[in-house]
Subunit: 121 residues, 2 copies
């Protein structure tokens, strides 16, 4: 038997969500999810987040076309972090890279560039 | 040429860090990292975090023995999230699972149990 997990959105009403490529298993990005964003993700099958800088619900790829089709959503042991397993269209990062984690901490660029941001944004 | 990236630790002095298994590429956990935790991680080669509940620097596995040897540290585009690529001893989750993300959002247990927490803690 399974029961829906009660997510702990905490004081600020947001949980971090890791987006992982369902095929390559690359970690693509981390963003924040509100209850509304989670509901929209489940209802539409496309990843939604909450933009803290724009202070609004954010459908990933709404402007760039680089949508994330969500295959599965996992929850961590404390129910305060989500994992989205996604099929990423284009690239996840606004810099044009497949993953936002395209740099080592020493600044070495080890990522794959998959689009030209000047042509997309 | 590479230059060390200036991490944006923000208002609360912490950044989220995703720990990913360097071999299986499974996402193991998400925890928070202070400047001191990052420094300790780089100096020792073992993952350190900052425990918000205990309000202290936390060497992962210090009590359980389930250390994370860090192969690489990546930084995201905004320099406010880290990715630790690790070799995990035992399991990452205090519940005995390999990964903290052992449940689907509908509560289905899809994780692998690798140790008995009653014997470890």
């Amino acid at each position: 038997m399974t029961t829906q997990i009660d997510i702990d959105f905490g004081e600020n009403g947001l949980v971090p969500a890791v987006a992982q490529d369902a095929v390559s298993k690359d970690v693509l990005m981390v963003a924040y999810v509100s209850p509304e964003a989670l509901e929209a993700t489940r209802e539409t099958g496309y990843a939604h987040y909450y933009s803290r800088s724009r202070d609004e619900l954010w459908k990933k790829g709404a402007s760039s076309g680089h949508l994330q089709a969500v295959e599965d959503i996992r929850v961590d042991c404390d129910a305060d972090t989500l994992l989205y397993l996604v099929n990423q269209s284009g690239g996840a990062c606004h810099t044009g890279h497949e993953s936002c984690f395209y740099r080592s901490i020493d600044g070495e660029n080890i990522g794959t560039k998959v689009f030209d941001p000047d042509e997309v944004y």
